[in-house]
Symmetry: C2
Subunit: 156 residues, 2 copies
Amino acid sequence: MTSDEATRVRGFHEGFRWDGTALLPYKEEGSAPFKAISRQLLFADPQLGCELRYFEMDADGYSTLERHEHMHAVMILRGHGHCLVGGEVREVKPYDLVSIPSWTWHQFRATRGEPLGFLCMVNAERDKPQLPSADELRQLRSDRRVAAFLDGARDI
Amino acid sequence: MTSDEATRVRGFHEGFRWDGTALLPYKEEGSAPFKAISRQLLFADPQLGCELRYFEMDADGYSTLERHEHMHAVMILRGHGHCLVGGEVREVKPYDLVSIPSWTWHQFRATRGEPLGFLCMVNAERDKPQLPSADELRQLRSDRRVAAFLDGARDI
């Protein structure tokens, strides 16, 4: 088997790791709020219009609350938790699909005392995320369920 | 919840089906050789450079042996089986990643007496697949392991 052939199949290993695939920081530390979340770039090829990434957070971890022009196409792979999409909090389980439209506030949280991992397909060329202003955050929190989610409640 | 919000999370159901997602024929019947395989279009949005599809074959089913300019980025989701990529036959299990480069012969087969299902990320705009000529097929079959794979052997 040539090394080129070896990379055509990258084996999966316990703990949601793959051969030849680095465990990366989610974002630059301090660039935005997030907690206990990692990133693996599963597919990123100049021939592809999209990348496929795997994000995983530990129990009680969360991704950044943000929005941007580009959309996200998500499939949950590991564990149970919740996501915020726009003004709505939804429970998610393995293999559920989540569409995050343009300019929609979104966040994933591992609310069930276990890791939460998901695939995210995204355009290779994309704009930078925006963080909510104090006013926008206040408006999001005016919904009690959203406020509980943002406060890290396990029982939403 | 508005109907727009309802479609943002599409729930997964036993048997690898999703809310609001149709079970489609793999290809037009008679257009190419294949067996006992279905297709579900999980994400296909004009804003995305790629589509994410889920293909599943029953035990002993197979996808078309073909090649094309566009590449495939595959993650196995369900079951065990084998794939052919170029001149190489590889065993695959859930969550393994398979990269299929441009113009590389490829086929998936459910060789383990169980369904084999996989995600396939592909550019939204892509060329049509080519089928092997008699000569190309003969050349592929000159490798004993490839010949066993193409003959549908379970013990490769």
